[in-house]
């Protein structure tokens, strides 16, 4: 099963290596990993997408991560209400004629063209991994010259009850 795990870590040298090394030697497959600073100085957040066999393996993974001294918190947020996003840059083969066709394809994805050259077009798309995946599949027939994905980053949605308690006025 595919799980999204977040880890809050102390931003110390080697911490990424500790995490990836641990997963590798315990035979967990990392599909993607993204890391970046959080709102708290010195604290970073990692978002891992992993493929695990069963619940027992999943429990091992979170427990082993939790044992690391530099890891503060590990959560499996797969089944929670979350927002998750990924960014992809896709360079597609495209001569003049195809350009508008490609633009039509990417439009519903709210993707944008960020670079144009004589024979190629670079597209940027942001969204859930499935959406990114779908666009890539649509563009594949045109010939993808280069593809770069950031991997998923995610967090929990705002607390529902709290939102409900807010006075209902429009922010706009």
């Amino acid at each position: 099963m595919r799980r999204i795990i977040t880890a809050t870590v102390q931003n110390k040298s080697g911490v990424l290596n500790r995490v990836t090394g641990l997963l590798q030697r315990r035979q967990f497959n990392i599909e993607s990993i993204s890391v970046g600073p959080t709102e708290v100085e010195g604290i970073s957040k990692m978002t891992l997408v992993v493929e695990v066999e069963d619940k027992q393996k999943l429990e091992q993974l979170t427990k082993q991560l939790n044992k690391q001294i530099d890891i503060l918190k590990v959560s499996d947020i797969t089944d929670k209400a979350i927002v998750s996003r990924e960014l992809a840059l896709i360079k597609v083969v495209s001569s003049g004629q195809l350009r508008s066709e490609i633009k039509d394809i990417i439009e519903p994805f709210r993707a944008s063209v960020i670079d144009v050259s004589k024979d190629s077009l670079a597209v940027q798309v942001t969204g859930k991994p499935e959406k990114v995946e779908a666009l890539i599949e649509l563009l594949r027939p045109y010939g993808i010259k280069e593809l770069a994905r950031t991997g998923v980053t995610a967090f929990l949605r705002g607390n529902k009850p709290q939102v409900a308690e807010l006075p209902s006025y429009s922010l706009l």
Binding site: V9, Q10, S13, G14, N17, R18, G21, L22, R25, Q56, E59, Q60, K63, Q64, N66, K67, Q68, I69, D70, I71, L72
Partner: protein
């Protein structure tokens, strides 16, 4: 951040270096002995040791591997972290086996490695090795010191991490320019905050209630005692608890001594070479209470057949061990001592399980450990029994790895905690003799016996140098079968007697070897000789090397063959 410029009037003699800070920090931690070996990158530290030689002892081993196994032996006996020091590059890489060994057997160590100067790290400088990269998977934690003022705090953290929770090795890698750096401050901040490290020691009361409930209902309960009982110093509580409720106890290899082997409720050791009674108890029980063991595969055998009908309760200070190998119904993350104390606070009724205890007694009576005794030649099992007898079962016994290790575990019945030092998880040949040196340094008044194989002894015998030098009366008993016995046994059983590279065509003369180190050596070949000599050897005030020639063809039995279940033991007494 940077230390202040040197005041003009301070002479070099008055200033301290990073290395002095290190020694002061060790003294603060109550360290008495450093197990080490010098080299270029740690010269500043050795200079500080020279300055502090009245306050701290350094034991110079003859190979870094010897120093770290000795530190492990010391840690196993005292419960305190063993402190190891080695130089960068080859010094550090020579420690790897010991670090991995300490990690898997949960022994507290604080290991200092020298590193090349910060300015050349990453340039493949002379004697540079990526110690942090290499040791990350085999340490509880590791540090590379980046600023001299962090050193005292890091050392304090390292001792805390190594010795609390589930103990383990911590490596501190110190660039040479940091240990050499002059410091002028009186003291540096040592308060630390480890927000990601809070080992839980208190058991959850709800889980304890569940366990009490299961205990009241159980008809065939059994307790498995692991090294967690030793680390948690919980033997007395364990004895009190099982005596109150008459619950039988088996131990793991590393848990030997956590419960007296001669106790009425003891079933002996379980696992691959455990007793029939212990393994069948694990197989047939309806409630298995694991105190501080990690359900290693050498204990469980084929997991499909491990305690198939039992409710499993597991008390462990390391949450990751619970549910890792064996499905657990009652998980209790806690220090074993606190958990048993909590259980002792509950007064409850247990069914007196006569049928169960009768069944176990019958097994004990009909299927005890057994071996073929020969008349004149020494059989290795008999040898261990004789050692047990001659030392009143009170010696600290260290072993190497192989057949002799299993026979020592089977036939030296340990009645007290912390008298047994062996490499269980990693199974490290070369461990036994240096570990005995560490144990003797930890307990100078105790009888320390290293039971080693003729193969493994040859891996670290260079440490013989230290015995006379340090006046350590370690008794080395070589169970000499002229073979890599355990390998030979597996080749006999599972590879149709194809003894590939497991028989020694020639052997060194161990008596002459001992003699060259000015140690008393002797060769013993018959039972009669052994009986005459052994008491004298053990009473001798100095070190002795006893080369005991034993029957080569003996095998360790009973045995759970690889892939088999607890109930499929072979070599049970006919």
């Amino acid at each position: 951040m940077k230390v202040e410029a040197k005041p003009a009037f301070t002479s070099i003699e008055e200033s301290k270096t990073g290395a002095d800070l290190l020694i002061e920090a060790l003294l603060q931690e109550g360290v008495e002995t450093i197990f080490g070996y010098p080299g270029g990158a740690v010269l500043p530290i050795y200079d500080a040791i020279y300055r502090a030689k009245d306050r701290i002892k350094h034991v110079l081993f003859r190979h870094e591997q010897g120093s770290i196994h000795a530190a492990e032996g010391y840690a196993r006996i005292t419960g305190k972290p063993g402190v190891v020091l080695a130089t960068s590059g080859p010094g550090a890489t020579n420690l790897i086996t010991g670090i991995a060994d300490a990690m898997i057997d949960s022994l507290p160590l604080v290991v200092f490695t020298g590193q090349v100067a910060r300015s050349v790290i990453g340039t493949d400088a002379f004697q540079e090795a990526d110690v942090i990269g290499i040791t990350t998977p085999i340490t509880k934690h590791n540090y590379q010191v980046q600023h001299v003022q962090d050193l005292p705090r890091i050392i304090k953290e390292a001792f805390h991490i190594a010795s609390t929770g589930r103990p383990g090795p911590v490596v501190i890698d110190i660039p040479k320019d940091i240990s050499a750096e002059n410091v002028y401050e009186e003291a540096f901040e040592t308060d630390f905050d480890l927000p990601g490290y809070h080992p839980n020691t208190k058991p959850n009361p709800l889980q304890i209630n569940k366990l009490v409930d299961s205990l009241t209902k159980a008809k065939k309960p059994v307790i498995l005692a692991g090294a967690g009982v030793l680390h948690g110093k919980a033997s007395e509580e364990l004895i009190q608890f099982v005596e109150r409720y008459q619950i039988p106890v088996t131990t793991t290899l590393l848990g030997l001594g956590s419960f007296p082997g001669d106790h009425k409720l003891s079933l002996g050791m379980a696992g691959m070479h455990g007793t029939y009674t212990a393994n069948m108890a694990l197989y047939e029980c309806d409630l298995l209470v694991n105190f501080g063991a990690r359900f290693d595969d050498r204990l469980t055998g084929n997991l499909k057949h491990f305690a198939p009908n039992a409710k499993v309760a597991h008390v462990d200070i390391d949450p990751a061990e619970i549910g890792k190998n064996v499905t657990t119904h009652i998980p209790i993350v806690a220090d074993v001592k606190e958990a048993i104390r909590e259980l002792l606070h509950h007064e409850f009724d247990m069914n007196l399980h006569y049928q169960w205890s009768n069944q176990l007694e019958e097994n004990k009576k009909h299927f005890p450990l057994w071996y073929n005794d020969s008349n004149e030649e020494i059989s290795p099992q008999w040898l261990i029994s004789q050692i047990h007898r001659a030392s009143n079962g009170e010696a600290i016994v260290t072993t190497d790895v192989g057949q002799h290790q299993m026979w020592a575990a089977q036939y030296y019945s340990f009645s007290k905690p912390n008298h047994w030092v062996t490499s269980g998880g990693l199974g490290t040949m070369g461990f036994g003799f240096p570990a005995a040196i560490g144990a003797q340094l930890a307990a100078p008044e105790s009888q320390v016996i290293a039971i080693v194989g003729d193969g493994g002894f040859q891996m670290t015998l260079q440490e013989l140098s230290i015995l006379q030098e340090r006046n350590l009366p370690v008794k080395i008993i070589i169970v000499n079968n002229g073979a890599l016995g355990m390998v030979r046994q597996w080749q006999e059983k599972f590879y149709e007697h194809r003894y590939s590279e497991s028989l020694f065509p020639i052997q060194p003369d161990f008596v002459k070897l001992a003699d060259s180190y000015d140690i008393k050596g002797m060769k013993i070949s018959t039972q009669e000789e052994l009986q005459q000599v052994l008491p004298k050897v053990l009473a001798f005030p100095g070190p002795v090397v006893m080369d005991c020639r034993v029957v080569q063809t003996e095998n360790v039995y009973p045995m759970i063959a690889p892939g088999k279940g607890l109930h499929e033991m072979i070599g049970v007494k006919p």
